[in-house]
């Protein structure tokens, strides 16, 4: 077996230290080591987008990184976006516009959209569709998700 890697990482503002096998995927590290099961695992080869997290503010696939690669860095998962009492405006918009059905894909959509909306506060529908093209939803057909993103853009620019 390969040597364990001593890892220190900030996740959702909290510092964690763990010893992990180098082959442990970031997605599994978050779920199994830290218990942050909001990051979902769909395809495990970078296609479905369900495991998307923010790494130093950028959306990345957690299934396409090894846990040691986030040593010394900052990760934000869906748990870090807001709470049930105090949702992020993007989360509120998804709720209000019915931007989800089963919810499996939702964490990946939210984490992908946070940097997108920061960079594009007033996106066109085409830009929104391009931005979510790396996230698969098998329930809603995307119409409500696009509506939710439009609503979120309004909410976020109003604050």
């Amino acid at each position: 077996m390969s040597e364990l890697f001593k890892l220190q990482v900030t996740v959702n503002g909290e510092v964690y230290e763990r010893e992990v096998e180098p082959r442990l995927l970031l997605s599994d590290f978050l779920r199994h080591e830290l218990g942050l099961t909001g990051t979902h695992v769909g395809c495990e080869h970078g296609v479905c987008g369900a495991c998307t997290v923010l790494l130093d503010g950028e959306a990345v696939r957690a299934c396409l990184m090894f846990a040691p690669q986030v040593h010394g860095r900052e990760v934000v998962t869906v748990e870090g976006l807001g709470t049930i009492a105090e949702m992020h405006p993007l989360q509120q918009a998804f709720q209000e516009a019915h931007g989800l059905q089963c919810g499996f894909c939702t964490p990946g959509f939210l984490t992908s959209l946070i940097p997108f909306l920061e960079e594009n506060p007033d996106p066109s529908e085409e830009e929104i569709r391009e931005a979510i093209s790396g996230n698969l939803c098998r329930c809603t057909g995307y119409v409500h998700i696009v509506e939710a993103v439009k609503l979120a853009a309004e909410k976020m620019s109003a604050t």
């Binding site: 390969s2 970078g46 987008g49 299934c63 396409l64 040691p68 690669q69 992908s112 790396g134």
Partner: protein, 291 residues
């Protein structure tokens, strides 16, 4: 869907990385952005015993002007950086236009220019684009370095001229010649999907408005980027008339490519696409060259 175990090294310098490659040779894989290698490891199609993670190696991510008027791109430059870089937009507009077609934003945030080239997927835009732009790759090992032309770098499916102990560290793209034009045409189910067929083109006109040179490279058309030599031969020395372009497209689609059938498209359909896309690419490229 879990990767097999491996020894993990995260060198901080290129020297260290090259020493590790020299020591572990065939058993080692360099880990760049990991957006192709890690899925292959998750599927256990790749089972390297040693991973040399280049993400912490200082000085491999940059875009610089080259003395000849072209650009130098460090191998670990992320796709996102290439996409947003103004020097690339100015000096290598074909590359600039190719970037949004490469995977999704999440992948472009991690994936690297050099990693995509070293992976040598014949469906990748960067592979064909580097060929038609006459790129050169700087390969380095603990013993020294050498330059290899892009057209010699890609050997076959996922196979390059890289020796086991070598790393691709830099790519040089020369400036566009005078009276040159370019185009990238592809058909994909979604903007970021692997193209069913695609073609990158750079063409040049001589002072009389005749075709001076044509460089075409097809993606998803064989086990490597397929150069459109027969298509080029049909045009060089001729005025790029609609008729000459149609003949070149026909030659390219029949003689220059070896597409195969898969779940997404038949070889026959891919040849049809190649014909149409070559015509569009040449029309656009000659228009730009004349402009």
């Amino acid at each position: 869907m879990k990767p097999p175990p491996f020894e993990y090294y995260a060198p901080a310098s290129l020297e260290e990385a090259l020493a590790l490659m020299a020591e572990h040779g065939w058993d080692a894989k360099p880990l760049a952005g990991g957006q192709s290698l890690i899925p292959m490891m998750n599927f256990r199609l790749a089972q390297p015993e040693v991973l040399v993670d280049l993400n912490g190696v200082a000085g491999l991510g940059y875009i610089r002007p080259a003395d000849d008027g072209g650009v130098l791109i460090g191998a670990m430059t992320r796709h996102k950086t290439v996409q947003q870089d103004s020097l690339i937009a100015e000096r290598a507009p074909l590359l600039h236009e190719a970037m949004p077609k490469i995977a999704t934003q999440q992948i472009r945030n991690r994936g690297t220019f050099g990693g995509s080239l070293a992976h040598a997927d014949p469906a990748a835009e960067l592979v064909s684009v580097s060929v038609v732009l006459d790129g050169r790759m700087r390969l380095q090992s603990a013993q020294g370095e050498r330059w290899v032309a892009a057209s010699d770098f890609f050997v076959s499916l996922f196979t390059t001229a890289l020796e086991p102990e070598e790393l691709l560290v830099e790519v040089h793209l020369p400036p566009a010649p005078a009276r040159a034009g370019w185009s990238l045409q592809e058909v994909a189910r979604r903007p970021h999907d692997f193209a069913l067929m695609g073609v990158a083109a750079v063409v040049g006109l001589d002072e009389d408005g005749k075709c001076d040179f044509v460089r075409l490279s097809y993606l998803s058309a064989g086990d490597r980027p397929m150069e459109g030599q027969k298509a080029a031969a049909a045009l060089v020395g001729e005025k790029p008339s609609a008729e000459a372009i149609r003949a070149a497209a026909e030659a390219g689609a029949t003689l220059d490519i070896e597409p195969s059938d898969d779940i997404h498209a038949t070889a026959e359909f891919r040849r049809h696409l190649a014909n149409v896309l070559t015509r569009r690419a040449l029309e656009e490229a000659f228009e730009r060259a004349a402009g």
